[in-house]
């Protein structure tokens, strides 16, 4: 009985450890967007993965970075260990402790610290990320090599000298082979650490350089695509393989049979690989600095520009674009505030633009240099005035509404014409609310007839109380997964952005989109120019280029979010032009309100109310 419980317990642990990976594995072959319904076996996510050029670039970057940083860290770490072994006991202990601090330190802290330091001496790019990765890899290498060196002691080295070996010969023929298992484990551990690092990479990378983790993070906003399941599955298999090699190595070491020759060749292969990849890496470093006369640095929402568009711009103007992406306004703000990189253009949302304006971080845009401004939709610019009076700072890039995605089989069109449906007992368990603080509180405010930008404590309390009463009806508070849940028909209504809704309707014909009559949020993502933009001229050229009809059209077809470009709208076929999800009617827009900056006090009030709701 006791034995059974023991085995059951171990089984349970393994179940919880590996079931998530198994789910991932299965979903990567699922021919349906849903996370719960099996739509048949498919390899299409794998083919799409391979065809996804930015993702493949990121993969190459990641692997290059991992091999190079692990390789260099191994060489440095090995040298450090040898030095440390020769030290007096007390100073060695102190140094070992110091060497291990980066490992215990939170990644975010390491990342920010390295960013601040490296930004002083170099452009943030592949080079800076490489240095950062070497830094946090070193402790893992040292941790693996030092015990091995201690284990063989100094007498092994001395014995070699005693038998006539020169110091170098003794090191390469005796010491290195003896500690090789530790060196290999250190290298592989460093390799995997580098492979899945996000925080440090995120802070130390510059525009134009992405690794897998930063790319995936950028895509979070739009929901994780099944391609990612495929990629994750592949990565898991690679890590599994590495693990297998490590284990085999140690088993081999234990057996110590006559396989010596093989082991030598393995170490030689590893060494060759490292030596081969080093120049490749360094040339990669150099490539980052191709000689463009002129360059601009753009920091934009992820997946807002067709990569081909950037190539066309570079060809036409000879201006190189350092393109960097962010996933949330807040992440953009953090990076901007660090002053690590000077940007020429940013692409934040309405309320963030107002915040940056009020903090004096933006400069007015010279409209005379952007003739293509004439292509912009008139009422769009009018709406923008709520956060940018006189349209002096912001050039709209994409916009849309916040509304309801609903399943026509489960709920009627008349019901969803009001926010009331989200508070109706009848829909209990079929409602997905937004996990965004301002969206959810904003909806409650609208239902109560207040402004979406209210900072009146009484109104906000009323709205929060309403949301607390609603909570039992809500199935989940989600952001990016809302689309997939409705596609999978796990819920009847969900709060969603218009752009996402359009995508969802492509996947499931029974879905429809509605903006309730009480009015909603109209959001705008616009280009703005920081005060210290180094290449103002180039930035203006870029803005004019982005507003050109053919270019705006390419981006529209890439993103399928609402474009503010009238010329593009006019050229669309009727079924798209009159789809009020992708192109909201003037009446819908007039009912909507953009978010404005609440000020520090207002922000605090909102986040406290939000905490009150979520902690229930």
């Amino acid at each position: 009985m006791k034995r059974f419980i023991k085995q059951f317990y171990v089984g349970l642990i393994f179940f919880f450890l590996y079931v998530p990976i198994a789910v991932l594995f299965v979903l990567s072959f699922n021919d349906s967007l849903s996370r719960v319904h099996w739509g048949g076996f498919t390899l299409k996510w794998y083919t799409e993965l391979v065809e996804n050029a930015p993702l493949m670039d990121a993969l190459v970057n990641t692997l290059l970075l991992a091999v190079a940083s692990a390789g260099i860290a191994t060489i440095l770490g090995l040298a450090a260990c040898i030095g440390m072994t020769a030290m007096k006991h007390s100073s060695r202990q102190v140094l070992t402790m110091i060497a291990q601090i980066p490992m215990l330190n939170a990644d975010v802290v390491t990342g920010i610290a390295l960013m601040l330091l490296l930004a002083r001496f170099m452009n943030l790019s592949f080079g800076s990320v490489l240095i950062a990765h070497i830094t946090f890899n070193l402790p893992y290498v040292i941790l693996n090599i030092l015990p091995k060196l201690k284990q063989i002691g100094t007498s092994t080295y001395e014995a070699a000298l005693d038998l006539g070996a020169s110091p170098a010969y003794a090191f390469f023929k005796i010491v290195l082979p003896e500690i090789f298992p530790g060196v290999l484990t250190g290298f592989l551990l460093a390799f995997t650490m580098s492979l899945d690092d996000f925080s440090v990479t995120y802070f130390t990378k510059g525009p134009g350089f992405e690794t897998l983790s930063t790319t995936i993070y950028g895509e979070l906003r739009k929901g994780i695509k099944p391609q990612m399941y495929a990629l994750s599955t592949l990565m898991f298999l690679v890590v599994l393989l590495i693990l297998f090699i490590i284990n085999r190595q140690s088993v081999k070491e234990e057996r110590k049979i006559k396989q010596q020759k093989k082991k030598h060749s393995l170490s030689r292969t590893a060494l060759c690989l490292m030596l081969f990849l080093l120049p490749v890496t360094l040339s990669g470093c150099g490539k980052q600095k191709e000689n463009y006369q002129n360059e601009i640095t753009v920091f934009n929402y992820s997946e807002y520009i067709d990569p081909e568009v950037l190539e066309i711009f570079e060809e036409e103007t000879g201006i190189h674009v350092n393109y960097e992406e962010f996933a949330t306004n807040e992440a953009m703000y953090a990076k901007l505030s660090s002053d690590a990189v000077s940007y020429d253009l940013l692409g934040p949302s309405d309320y963030m633009i107002e915040k940056l304006m009020k903090e004096g971080r933006l400069q007015k845009i010279d409209k005379s240099k952007i003739p293509n401004l004439k292509n912009l939709k008139k009422n769009c610019l009018e709406s923008c005035e709520s956060f940018d009076p006189g349209n002096e700072y912001a050039v709209p890039e994409f916009w849309g509404t916040l509304g309801l995605l609903y399943n026509t089989k489960m709920i009627s069109e008349t019901e969803v014409s009001s926010w009331d449906c989200l508070f109706d007992e009848k829909n209990k368990g079929n409602i997905i609310m937004s996990n965004d603080m301002r969206n959810s509180i904003g909806i409650a405010l609208k239902k109560l007839g207040y402004s979406i930008n209210s900072s009146n404590p009484k109104e906000i309390k009323e709205a929060t109380d309403l949301l607390i009463r609603q909570k039992p009806l809500v199935q989940a508070y989600l952001t990016d997964e809302t689309r997939d849940e409705l596609v999978a028909e796990n819920a009847a209504i969900g709060v969603i952005y218009s752009g996402e809704a359009y995508l969802a309707m492509e996947y499931n014909e029974d879905l429809a989109y509605s903006v309730p009559e009480e009015g909603s949020n109209v959001w705008f993502d616009c280009f703005v120019m920081p005060k210290d933009a180094p290449n103002k001229e180039g930035a203006l050229k870029f803005l004019n280029f982005m507003l050109r009809e053919d270019i705006a059209s390419m981006n529209f077809e890439y993103v399928y979010y609402t474009t503010p470009n009238q010329a593009v709208i006019d050229s669309q076929p009727d079924d798209i032009k009159y789809d009020d999800c992708i192109f909201p009617t003037d009446e819908m827009v007039s009912r909507g309100e953009p978010f404005t900056y609440l000020g520090a006090k207002g922000e605090k009030l909102y986040s406290e109310s939000w905490k009150r709701l979520k902690s229930r």
Binding site: I152, S155, E158, A160, D162, L163, G164, S166, I174, K256
Partner: protein, 357 residues
């Protein structure tokens, strides 16, 4: 004095403020079994490492066959070392281990193969060529380490507590093995140990060291029977060391009773240390002893009984094959030849001068 093989002249060595060796002088000739004996921290291993070249002395010179090798790196020195922890190369098999030094010297393959066979035969491990070090027992590994060293035909083999990690039985059989090896090879062994029994069994010459100074140099018999000071007497075997007064030549007053002895030249009424080995005290009937006492404890030790006898206000350690019972009254008798008189040391640092080994 003709052919000093190794000579250490005025060697001093310290680590920080810790003085390990102070102006040490020592030399020895060919074909000796020399043992550096002392408690841990006495400087014996440092002395060995200075000979091997792993340490450089702060002052002084190391001469080999009259040539100064003080600053010669270890890989150029014509001597080899056997380490306490064997230090075999675990990623090589036994044959490769033994061939290591010969390959560096670019010897022919036939020569190397011959040497491996010869060396393995010498250490009684024929046929172990393809084995890996980890598959061998501690004693076997140590014998391989010795084989690996001697194939290089050194004139001196340095052994740093080579039996320290082995169990008692194995240690004893390895002692005989080492004596046999030394005799077959006809080279000098310099052996470091803290085990006095090991030193007495194997050595031609023992160098007793303490706190960086040589305390006494001599044959095992000299060291055991005529220790020059209380440290040596105490360190080599068990003994009764008693603070006494030399009344006159051939008469010493021990704890208030006069004992006859054979030593002369200490002067009159001088304070001295007296050493009496426990096996040299005879237990007789009370009236036959020089002094009388009462047995306070008896332990059976196999070959003999170890007893403590209270006499003249002191516990005397006695080894005897005749058993007495606790609280028996006994007479203690010591032959004058077995009373060893020593000068009281002026200081702990008292050092013996060099003695022709």
């Amino acid at each position: 004095m003709a052919n000093k093989l190794i000579e250490l002249c005025g060697i001093s060595k310290s680590y920080g403020s810790n003085q390990i060796l102070d102006d040490m002088n020592l030399y020895f000739n060919e074909n000796r079994f020399l043992t550096l004996l002392g408690p841990s921290g006495c400087g014996k291993t440092t002395t060995l490492r200075i000979m091997a070249g792993f340490e450089t002395p702060d002052t002084g010179k190391v001469l080999f066959d009259g040539v100064d090798i003080t600053n010669m790196p270890p890989n150029k020195r014509p001597l080899n070392t056997v380490f306490q922890k064997y230090a075999l190369f675990t990623h090589m098999n036994i044959a490769e281990n033994i061939a290591f030094g010969l390959k560096i010297k670019n010897k022919s393959k036939a020569y190397i193969d011959d040497k491996i066979k010869y060396a393995l035969k010498l250490v009684n491990l024929d046929g172990y060529e393809k084995r890996m070090p980890d598959s061998l027992s501690g004693g076997q590994q140590q014998r391989i380490a010795i084989a690996r060293a001697i194939v290089n035909e050194p004139k001196v083999l340095l052994l740093d507590e080579p039996l320290g990690a082995l169990d008692l039985k194995l240690r004893q059989s390895m002692q005989y093995e080492l004596i046999r090896l030394k005799n077959e090879l006809g080279i000098t062994f310099v052996y470091v140990t803290h085990d006095q029994e090991e030193a007495l069994t194997m050595s031609d010459t023992i160098v007793v060291m303490n706190q960086g100074y040589i305390q006494q140099i001599g044959t095992p018999e000299d060291i055991y029977n005529e220790p020059e000071n209380a440290f040596v007497a105490d360190f080599i075997g068990e003994s009764n060391i008693i603070s006494s007064t030399m009344v006159e030549d051939k008469l010493v007053n021990i704890l208030g009773t006069n004992f006859k002895c054979v030593d002369v030249g200490f002067g009159q009424n001088r304070p001295v240390d007296v050493v009496i080995r426990p096996e040299d005290i005879e237990l007789l009937s009370p009236e036959k002893g020089i002094i009388t006492g009462r047995v306070t404890s008896v332990l059976f030790k196999g070959v003999h009984y170890e007893m403590e006898v209270m006499a003249n206000g002191r516990e005397w350690l006695v080894h005897s094959t005749v058993m007495k019972n606790v609280s028996d009254e006994v007479g203690l008798y010591v032959d004058p030849f077995n009373i060893q008189i020593m000068n009281k040391p002026e200081s702990e640092d008292e050092e013996a001068v060099k003695i022709d080994a």
